[in-house]
Amino acid sequence: MSEELDILKRALKREKAARKQAEQILEGKSRELYDLTQELKQLNEQLEDGLTKKTSELQGVFDNLVDAYVLMDISGNVVKMNNSAKNLFGYDIDQEKLNIVTLIYKEDYQYAMTSFQELVTKGSFSDYQARVYTKDKGVRTVHINASLIRNKNNQPVAAQGIVRDITYELEQNRVFDEQKKQLSVIVENSSLGIALTQFGKILQTNKAFQNFLGYTKEELIQKEVKDISLKEEYALSSENMEKMNNGKIDHFSVNKRYVRSDGSNVWAKTNVAAVRNPDKTIKYQVALIEDITDQLESEKQRDLLVKNLEKMNLELSEYAHVVSHDLKSPLRSIYALVNWIKEDYSSAFDKTGLGHLSMIERTLEKMETLINDILSYSRAGNKENLESQQIDLNTLISDIKNVVLIPDNTEVYCKQKLPVINGDKTRIQQVFQNLIGNAVMYMDKEKGQIEIDYSDQNTHYQFKIKDNGPGIKEQYHTKIFKMFESVGNHKNSTGIGLAIVKKIVELYEGKIWLESSPEKGTTFYFTLKK
C-alpha cells in the first residue's frame, strides 16, 4: 500500500513538476505574444499615419497639377477632375454631371472614338490631340495621355487622362510660322542681296544675292566670303570683321567690289550686321548688298554736271559783271560830253536843242538803271557771296523808308512788330525795298497806305505787303515776275525789280504770289525759309 502510495506520490510530484514547467512555458509564450501584439499595434498605427499623410499629399498633388486630370468610369462619366480640369472645361462635377462625349468637338468625333478603342484594347493611348468644347462653347485644342484602370480581376473599371491645353502654344507656333513665312517672302523677293554668313562661310543667300553674283544657291553655300571678294579689298572688310568679332562694333558699311561667277567685278554697297549669342560671341553675320554700279556712274555724271553748272554760273555772273561795267563806261562818257556841250556851248542852242540834250541825259539814266538791275539780278541768285546774319526787320524797314522816297500822302507801316530773321541783309533788303518801292511808285490814291505784316508758319515766315494802289489785272499776275515784263508805265521801271524779288525769295526756298483787284489794291505775299 505504501508502495502504491509512494508511486502515486512520485507520480503526482512529477505531474506537478511537468505542469509547472508547462505553465512556465505558457507564461513565456503569452508574454511573447503580448509583446508581439503591442509591437504590431504600434506598427499598424505608424502605417495608418503614413497612409493618411500619403493620401493628403496625393490630394495636394492632384489638386495642384498644372495639367488637367480627369477620371471617368467606363461609360465616360467623369467621376473626378482636378482644379486645372475644372478651369479648362468650365464644368464642376460636384455641381453637375459630365460625360466626356459632351466635350468632343464635332469634327473630331471619329478620331476620338478610334482613340477610345485604342484605350480599351491596348490599355492606354498617348499624344491624342484634338479639339474640345468648353462649357461656354469655347473651343480649345488639347493634348491627352490616357490609361485604363482595372480591378483585381483585371476588369476595366475606369479611365484616367492627363489633359494639356495647347491652344495658345499652337497659336504661337502658327503665328511664328506665319511670320517666318512672311519674312522669307520678304527676304527672297528683296531687291537687296542678302546673305547669312558664319565665320566667313556663306550659309544662306536670297535670289537677289544669287542673281547679283551669277551663282546658284547651292554653289554659294560651297563658298566663303573671300571667294567672292577682291583680294585687295578683302583686307578692309576683314578689318571691320575683326572689330565686330571683338564686340567693338555691331555693324559696318563698306562700298566694295564682288567677283561674279564670270570673273567680272561689280560694285556694291555692303551693310554687315552681327547676330550675337547670349554670351556676345558672333552667331551669324547678315550681309545686305546693293548694286551701286549705276549709282556710282550717275553720281559721277552728276558731279560732272554740277561742276560744269557751277563753272557756267560763275562765268555768267562774271560775264554780267564785266559786260555791265563795259556798258556803264560809255554811258558816263556820253553823259560827260553832253554835260560839257551844255556848259560850254549853251548859247549855241535854242530851247528845243537844250530839251533834246536833257532827253539824252534821261535816256542815259534809264540805261544806267537797266544795267544796274541786270547786274543785281545776276548777283541775287549767286550763292557764292551769300552771307547769313541776324536781321531785325523793323530796323530794315525803317532803313528802307529813308532810301525809298515816300511822298507825304503815303503811309508805310508795320501791322505788328516784325521778327528778327537770318539771311543776307543786302538781298532781304532788296526784296522789301523793291516791293515797297513799287507800291509807293505806282500809288494813285490821295491817301496811300502800305501795310507790312507777317505770320509764323513753322518752317517759313510768310510776309504780306498790302497797298491800296491801282491793282494789277489777273492776266499779269505771273508775267510781272519775269525779266523785262514791266506792266506799269513808270519812267523808272525796268521790269527787273520783281524778277529779282522772285529770285531771292526762291533762294530762301520761299514762294511769292499776289492777290489784287482794281478796287482794293494789291497784296503781295512771300515766304522765306527760317
Binding site: R332, A336, N385
Partner: protein, 135 residues
C-alpha cells in the same frame, strides 16, 4: 602846295573828265596820265617824277588795276604811295580785293558828270590837306 597826281585810266574821255575837274576848280596840282598799268609801272620805275598819289581805274587792257596794285605794293620803294581806286564797279569782290592788297580809297564813278565833279573835288581837297612820305 602843288601835288603830283598820277591818273591811270585807259578811257580818253575819263582822263578828260578828271582834267576838267582840276581845271574848272583852278587847282594847280600836276597831273600825269598813263593809259594802263604797264605804262604806269614803266614810268614809275624810271623815277622820272614820283607821284604823291595814284588814281587807278580797275578795268584796263593789258595790265588791269588790281594787277598793277599788287606789283606796286610789292615794290619796297613805291608801296607807300597811296592809291585811290576810280571805278564804275561797286562789286563786293573788287572792293574786298582792293582793300586787301592795300588802297587809300575807293570811288565809284557816278553816271552824272556833276556828281562825278563833286566827288573828285572832295577827293582832291581831302588829299591836299594830307601828309605824304617823301622818298
Amino acid at each position: 602846295m602843288s601835288l603830283n597826281f598820277l591818273l591811270i585810266e585807259d578811257d580818253e574821255i575819263e582822263r578828260l573828265k578828271f582834267a576838267r575837274v582840276l581845271q574848272k576848280n583852278g587847282y594847280t596840282h600836276n597831273l600825269i596820265e598813263k593809259e594802263n598799268g604797264e605804262e604806269a609801272l614803266k614810268f614809275l620805275e624810271s623815277k622820272e617824277q614820283l607821284p604823291d598819289i595814284i588814281f587807278l581805274d580797275l578795268n584796263m587792257p593789258k595790265m588791269n588795276g588790281l594787277e598793277f596794285l599788287k606789283l606796286l605794293k610789292s615794290n619796297s620803294s613805291l608801296k607807300y604811295t597811296p592809291v585811290v581806286i576810280l571805278s564804275t564797279s561797286n562789286n563786293h569782290n573788287d572792293l574786298k580785293e582792293s582793300y586787301e592788297i592795300g588802297i587809300a580809297g575807293y570811288i565809284v564813278k557816278p553816271l552824272k558828270y556833276d556828281d562825278y565833279a563833286h566827288k573828285i573835288k572832295c577827293l582832291v581837297e581831302y588829299w591836299s590837306v594830307n601828309e605824304f612820305i617823301k622818298t
